[in-house]
Symmetry: C2
Subunit: 138 residues, 2 copies
Amino acid sequence: MTFRLNHLAIVVEDIPQALAFWRDALGLSLSKMERVADEEVEIAFLPLQDGKIELIAPINTTSGVAKYLAKRGAGLHHICLEVPDLAAAMQRLRDRGVELINDAPKVNAEGIRYCFVHPKSAFGVLVELYESPSAAQV
Amino acid sequence: MTFRLNHLAIVVEDIPQALAFWRDALGLSLSKMERVADEEVEIAFLPLQDGKIELIAPINTTSGVAKYLAKRGAGLHHICLEVPDLAAAMQRLRDRGVELINDAPKVNAEGIRYCFVHPKSAFGVLVELYESPSAAQV
């Protein structure tokens, strides 16, 4: 199967500072900024030819992302791949002994069903899966 | 500008173990394996709809990747974006105070000109740039 990369998430302390590199120096476009109250973060979206880079900064010192930053520092945080059938993908992973962070699919503000694979099952990488019925997988 | 993601590199200790997750459990395809003697690594290529994931494992205990693994553990290592004119991109970055790891473009085994941006200038992310004259950037 060929998966589509939905996004590549990078945790930063400060979005404007990070944009000075990603947008102003490197030259990527900024398509939108979004404040996600539930996750206590602000996100800057930088589209790639396919998929996008998301710069994620905490909006307080107590969120999960703030704690991650304090412990690990800024850097690559997770990758999100699209799957056509999330429940089937989760079952397939579980059948092969992969640990998922959430047992049942979650739904984000855009109505997208998603889950996270535990980094210890993915060799240090935090992998998010988005359900996208139109995901082209050949 | 819209950049193309050429690859997303993940450092692992052992390619067959990592493939048990990425290929067998998650379902990505393995398109090829390659041993890169110069960098003392073995690489597994897993194509995405656009771009690819590269699993990189050291073939000895003295290579740069082996040292990285010993210090940081397995996980996301770098992202590689395509630019149409590498020299111009490097000059633009330098003009804005961005530190590059190599001062002049390097050339890999496939003849691709590339450079690395220092992670301290990219907020913790190791960014590689590949020159691809046909890179669609609008």
